[in-house]
Amino acid sequence: MKYSIFSLARAAFSGHKNWQRTWRDASPKDHYDVVIIGGGGHGLATAWFLASEYGIRNVAVLEKGWIGSGNAGRNTTIIRSNYGLPGNTGFYELSMKLWERMEQDLNYNTMVSQRGVINLYHSDAQRDAYARRGNTMRINGIDAELLDLAAVKKMMPFLNFDNARFPVQGGLLQRRGGTARHDAVVWGYAHAASALGVDIIQNCEVTGFSRDANGKVTGVETSRGTIGAGKVGMAVAGSSSRVAAMAGLRLPIESHVLQAFVSEAIKPLIPNVMTFGAGHFYVSQSDKGGLVFGGDIDGYNSYAQRGNMPVMEDVCEGGMALMPMIGRVRLLRQWGGIMDMSMDGSPIIDKTPVDGLYLNAGWCYGGFKATPGSGLVFAHLLARNEPHKEAARFRLDRFRRGAMIDEKGVGAQPNLH
């Protein structure tokens, strides 16, 4: 059923008794052309692009729990394409363009809100680094503006301009950046992919790979039986190493916990997405009114989906340093997501050394904003067996070659990215 104000109004007359499932509750078939492991945003987007762009509809998405139960459902919902290095710049802009048409593509309101993302700077050196990045964006046709102090004051008069330890000097603004409703992205892709024939199979945990005599992957073993596949794509950020290990692969990835926080709902206070340049803090306000904020990863390998107090305090200290008006706003919930932290802070989308197995991993903090772009380029790779041009640098062998995409310049230490 097509969603619109008219269908809603019609449904209201029948007490909303006639709505169908948002996506079909499929049971596994014996064989699919493509099996995607991971029913998060990336896996579902990949399935949708396979079906809609590449005409491959005999596709299953396998999810060990409920769709969106991983990082798709526990991030801070920011979308942006303000990256500075070749590889990232073009890819995240591709993704941004797909965000801009997502609702119409999917017939689902994912609440893409282009309210602007501003990175604040606090020193000349930081301004220069932001200028370099902003110019990269502009040269790539991406909107970027370098704001001076007066412009920042006008836009966000509530920041601490008077007695800050590291006074704000300006910011790099991407007006097209913003937020989207994370769960709705998952449901929207599920809704649209399911309508094109993709089977979304929940509570189906992959326990191993079926391989032929040559080692080629021919399917997956799951908690719901063996499922044959022409190709298998992994989109299981947070668990990439564990799933890859089933195929005998070691990855340049560590799993780390990133905490996120939301405050009680309050009336509109913060107009955009902000990142503090002198501490670990970024924030936006959800449509419901909660301040959604976060900071740095806890810094140690973890699969526990929860963090500890030092980082929680560090994040709140950053928030209070930036805008002491939030002192009396109450933190309502905290949670943790498991990040695939790669060795250069950038993702991996590539074939693997195992024939028939394809990898989409290593998203670090960038996973949510990448969702549509990741779906498109991974679908391209699965369909065409060659990388999409905007993902050509996200190769697995780049570490061996020395062609890292290291935005922060901190090297092969995942907890610093």
């Binding site: 909303h16 409920w66 048409r101 601490n160 009680e264 709902a265 107090m309 008006m325 009396r328 933190l331």
Partner: protein, 990 residues
């Protein structure tokens, strides 16, 4: 203004202090209450029923509970900069002059035009917004979203800086107890008597938990007496600490707990020099969760009408606060506990209109009580409530068997049973288990060291609470001497599960978020059956009450509509904090200027006296330049400083550099492994510039290292990397090369270090160094390093190194002499026109000399990129050697450091501009690098810069575009040798 009379205050009783009357204001009206009231009890005392509006439909709402689980009675407390939105009236302590306002309504609470939303409620069902507001695409940001955002949210934040202070503290104990009800107090007695260090946290200001409202007999005495005796005993034990107004909100790894103490929230504002709240990090060997249970509502049409209240809350209001939520009370219950409210109400002289008991088998004693008091006991369900913003008027009852009844009442007490407070036990992702006899989830596993006791563990009888609490206290203390446990009888408890009464009209599950039973049915219909999907689709349990009253009912209804059992349906993940906690408390004093520490250089106070402008460099404040009277801008000052150095002599505080003493017979061998160049061959008394790589082959840090003795090197790092390099070197020493006999000592803070530069440097140094020290070019050649005596007797380290390109020395003295040294340099140097210079002039001179610094050492450059590839030894192993040889790191088209000069000599350069070939249009395919550092060079009288440019060194002399669309600039620059000044280095060696 005249206070309204407390029309609903009982003449006697309660734990309020009638000798301490208080005035307060709600929505501009003045009311009276007493010390010991909450805002909620005081509003009830004044007959106020309408307190708030709901989130989505703006339905009128009253007071549902008496605790931190309250979903409805939320207010903006205080005014101005201290305004606190979404404050639960049920936990806000009354103080004289309290001001509160209702929220999420316009123009007023009684006449809220936003209630028009209710007309659209047939459309505003769960998740409706996912299905619409999509066309036209541009309208989302322009129209729909702003409207939604304005309507959403609840209270208004102050919007200005929080004027109060917050504190953070640590506490350590053997046994940590959450809750001061019977189980918590019994636990404290047992563990406290045993001598264990005990901390008991109670979120309420009064201690006793449910005993304060429900009373009972313990050890043969009334509960109130037992509480005071117990508290007296606990107070006599020095090892027991009781913290009221303190909520244990989370449990973290290693027995670390988070607690929030509301130190002064019960006052209009904190007394001077006192904090508002304190965040506690409590480290406990064991913990006992005695946090009680939360009574749960039953979902029926109209269950959100003001005047519908939890049955136990009614008892609390009557017994503890001596206020009457209603005069003629009906009860709708499915368990034995609800009958206690009947007894309480009758005892207070209130009328019972009827008891609607869903259980078929009401005891003879209850029936006798009903007969005596003259109210009917109806076996059935409340199916509707007639009332509105002024409260309940009448309830409709569907009787078992099909008949209907109506009951006139002005209040309805509801009890659907009790949910143990399983939050703390579940925060490590432990899932609670279902217990059939109480139809509730109870703790299954718990974080290490934690147990639950009493009602939090599913034991609802008073005797059982005391027994479990005491036993937990004994076990936790792990020592003998706990004495005799307190004893009480257990009340009967029977319950017939009842979650939802089907019928017409909105029946609320999550009051605050307006989630109804039909929303849950819709979610199930649309496939959102997983409890986490349910929560996310309907927003069930995501409000400020964290679903304390709604979650279990919601999943019970989901279980029913999807044909599964409740345990099969499961619970969502429990997430801390247990109650919302002010963000300011987590920050403590780390805000404003105290966000991070401030490090001052040894010459800071002197520089401040000179009027220096300071710049933040990491945690350091460094003098950026020293303006003089009449100078119109920074450029004029910096230009003067550079010229003074190049023409005479100047000095600059470089104490912020990291400094590490490397001692031991293997010190040279160690340095050979961490630097790309060789240090074991360095002669004693000599300094050498060194470059370190990361293991991945990228440049990590640089600096000069001097050999002061055969087994003693003095290593310097950049300011930014002082800490990380120390950590890295310790890793190399302790983990990678444990066989080497070498020791590292950080001496960054021990030495004040100054660079003295310019052709008159020797003249100046001659004034402060003892004449025995030969400073001549022969006696102290370029890159020499040794100790010299200063006039006055102290020893200094002198290094003949130059960053400026001039004849220069760096001089180190013990940090405590830094201030004296700089003052003496000024005195002695007056005759030479000595000029202090700041980091800007330092930067100008290093760019003129083509030295790389932070902007070039960006973590993604190789030694060769920086023009330092020849330093890499091929004769030894060192960190980063192997990976530096990877194909992409030695590719010929890498971006390398070059100099740039604008072709128009008057043109200003800016860092961050990109380099585009002259013939090309800017685009990603022609983006060949960027400008890293720029300055106005007083020496060349024009702007110059350094840039990282593809194949740059092969392109010296080429004219390219500096493209800077961010700043609307595009101009020609010439690629040139990065050493702009004295390229053969004659000046620094002279």
């Amino acid at each position: 203004m005249v206070s309204h009379a407390q029309t609903h205050r009982l003449a006697s009783g309660g734990l309020i202090d009638r000798s301490a009357p208080l005035n307060f204001r709600f929505d501009g009206k003045t009311f009276a209450g007493f010390q010991g009231d909450t805002l909620a009890s005081a509003l009830i005392a004044n007959g106020v029923k309408l307190v708030g509006r709901s989130f989505k439909y703006h339905r009128p709402r009253g007071i549902l509970t008496s605790g931190s689980e309250e979903p409805n009675a939320l207010v903006e407390l205080r005014t101005g900069a201290r305004r606190e939105p979404n404050t639960k009236a049920t936990t806000a302590e009354l103080y004289d002059g309290l001001e509160a306002a209702s929220q999420n309504r316009w123009p007023s609470l009684r006449h809220d035009l936003m209630a028009v939303n209710q007309l659209f409620s047939p459309i505003f069902v769960a998740g409706f917004y996912y299905k619409t507001f999509m066309w036209p695409a541009k309208f989302w940001e322009a129209i729909y979203e702003p409207a939604i955002r304005r309507a959403a949210g609840l209270g208004r934040a102050a919007g200005v800086a929080d004027p109060d202070h917050y504190d953070k503290a640590w506490a350590h104990c053997d046994v940590l107890i959450a809750g001061s009800g019977p189980a918590g107090l019994a636990a404290a007695l047992a563990s406290g008597r045993s001598g264990a260090r005990v901390i008991l946290c109670e979120e309420d200001f009064a201690l006793g938990g449910r005993l304060l409202a429900d009373g009972g007999t313990i050890d043969g005495m009334p509960a109130a007496e037992w509480i005071s005796r117990t508290l007296a005993e606990l107070a006599s034990l020095p090892n027991v600490r009781i913290m009221n107004r303190t909520t244990l909100f989370g449990v973290y790894d290693g027995g670390t707990y988070g607690a929030i103490e509301r130190v002064n929230d019960h006052l209009p504002s904190p007394p001077e020099h006192q904090v508002r709240q304190r965040l506690w990090r409590i480290v406990a060997k064991r913990s006992i969760v005695a946090a009680g249970a939360i009574e749960r509502p039953i979902v029926f049409a109209g269950n959100d009408t003001p005047g519908v209240m939890m049955a136990s809350a009614m008892r609390t209001y009557v017994e503890r606060y001596a206020v009457t939520p209603a005069k003629r009370i009906a009860l709708f219950i499915n368990n034995e506990d609800g009958w206690r409210t009947v007894e309480t109400a009758l005892g207070a002289g209130l009328q019972i209109a009827a008891v609607v008991d869903a259980r078929p088998d009401v005891s003879a004693a209850h029936r006798a009580l009903a007969a005596k008091a003259g109210f009917p006991v109806l076996n059935g369900f409340v199916s509707g409530v007639d009332g509105g913003k002024d409260g309940v008027r009448k309830i409709s009852v569907a009787l078992v068997g099909g008949a209907r009844a109506e009951v006139e009442a002005d209040g309805l007490g509801v009890s659907g049973g009790w949910n143990p407070a399983v939050g703390l036990t579940s925060y490590h992702r432990g899932r609670p288990k279902w217990q059939d006899d109480i139809s509730a989830f109870v703790p299954d596993s718990a974080p290490p060291g934690m147990v639950a006791a009493g009602a939090a563990n599913g034991a609802f009888g008073l005797g059982a609470c005391l027994r479990q609490g005491f036993a937990a206290g004994v076990a936790a203390a792990q020592t003998a001497g706990h004495g005799v446990p307190p004893v009480a009888d257990d009340e009967a408890f029977s319950l017939t599960p009842l979650w939802h009464v089907a019928g017409k009209g909105k029946a609320f599950v999550d009051y605050q978020h307006d989630v109804t039973a039909s929303d849950i049915e819709l979610a199930q219909r649309e496939g959102f059956e997983s409890v986490e999907h349910l929560k996310r689709y309907t927003t069930l349990g995501m409000a400020t009450d964290q679903g304390k009253t709604s979650n279990v009912a919601g999943l019970a209804i989901m279980a029913a509509v999807s044909g599964k059992s409740i345990p099969e349906t499961g619970t969502t993940i429990y997430r801390p904090p247990y109650v919302p906690v002010a963000i300011g408390a987590f920050a403590g004093h780390h805000r404003d200027e105290n966000f991070h520490a401030t490090r001052l250089t040894p010459s800071h106070h002197w520089a401040a006296e000179q009027g220096a402008v300071f710049v933040d460099t990491g945690l350091w404040k460094r003098a950026q330049w020293y303006p003089r009277a009449g100078e119109k801008d920074w450029l004029e000052s910096v230009t003067r400083e550079v010229k003074a150095v190049r023409g005479g002599v100047g000095f600059c505080d470089v104490s912020t550099l990291g400094k590490i003493d490397v001692h031991g017979p293997d010190a040279g061998a160690f340095l050979d492994r961490v630097y790309i160049n060789t240090f074991s061959s360095l002669a004693v008394g000599k300094a050498r510039y060194g470059l370190m790589l990361r293991e991945d082959g990228m440049v990590y840090d640089d600096g000069t290292t001097s050999r002061l003795a055969e087994d003693h090197y003095f290593l310097t790092t950049t300011t930014a990397k002082a800490g990380p390099v120390m950590q890295h070197l310790e890793f190399c020493r302790q983990v990678l090369f444990p066989e080497l006999d070498v020791q590292l000592t950080s001496v960054s803070d021990q030495w004040a270090q100054f660079s003295i530069a310019g052709p008159k440097t020797r003249d100046l140094l001659g004034e402060i160094v003892e004449p025995v020290a030969d400073l001549s070019n022969e006696g102290f050649p370029f890159m020499g390093a040794r100790e010299v005596p200063l006039r006055g007797g102290i020893m200094a380290r002198l290094f003949r190194i130059s960053f400026s390109g001039e004849m220069a020395f760096e001089i180190s003295v013990p940090a405590r002499y830094g201030d004296a040294l700089v003052r003496n340099l000024m005195l002695a140097g007056k005759q030479f026109g000595v000029t202090p210079y700041g980091t800007e002039a330092l930067g100008v001179m290093r760019i003129e000399k083509g030295h790389v610094a932070g902007p070039e050492l960006n973590g993604a450059t190789t030694a060769a990129d920086l023009g330092l590839g020849k330093m890499m030894s091929t004769k030894k192993d060192f960190i980063g050697r192997v990976m530096a040889g990877r194909e992409a790191l030695v590719a010929p088209d890498r971006q390398v450091v070059v100099g740039i000069k604008p072709t128009d000599k008057t043109r200003r350069l800016r860092s961050g501009a990109h380099i585009i070939p002259k013939a090309e249009i800017p685009g990603p395919d022609h983006d060949q690098g960027y400008v890293t550092s720029v300055c106005f060079s007083p020496t060349l009288d024009q702007w110059i810069g350094l840039a990282l440019v593809e194949r740059g060194r092969e392109r010296i002399g080429e004219i390219v575009h500096a493209h800077d669309p961010l700043r609307g600039e595009n101009y020609d620059v010439e690629l040139c040798n990065p050493v702009f000044y004295d390229p053969d280095g004659g000046r620094q060696r002279g």
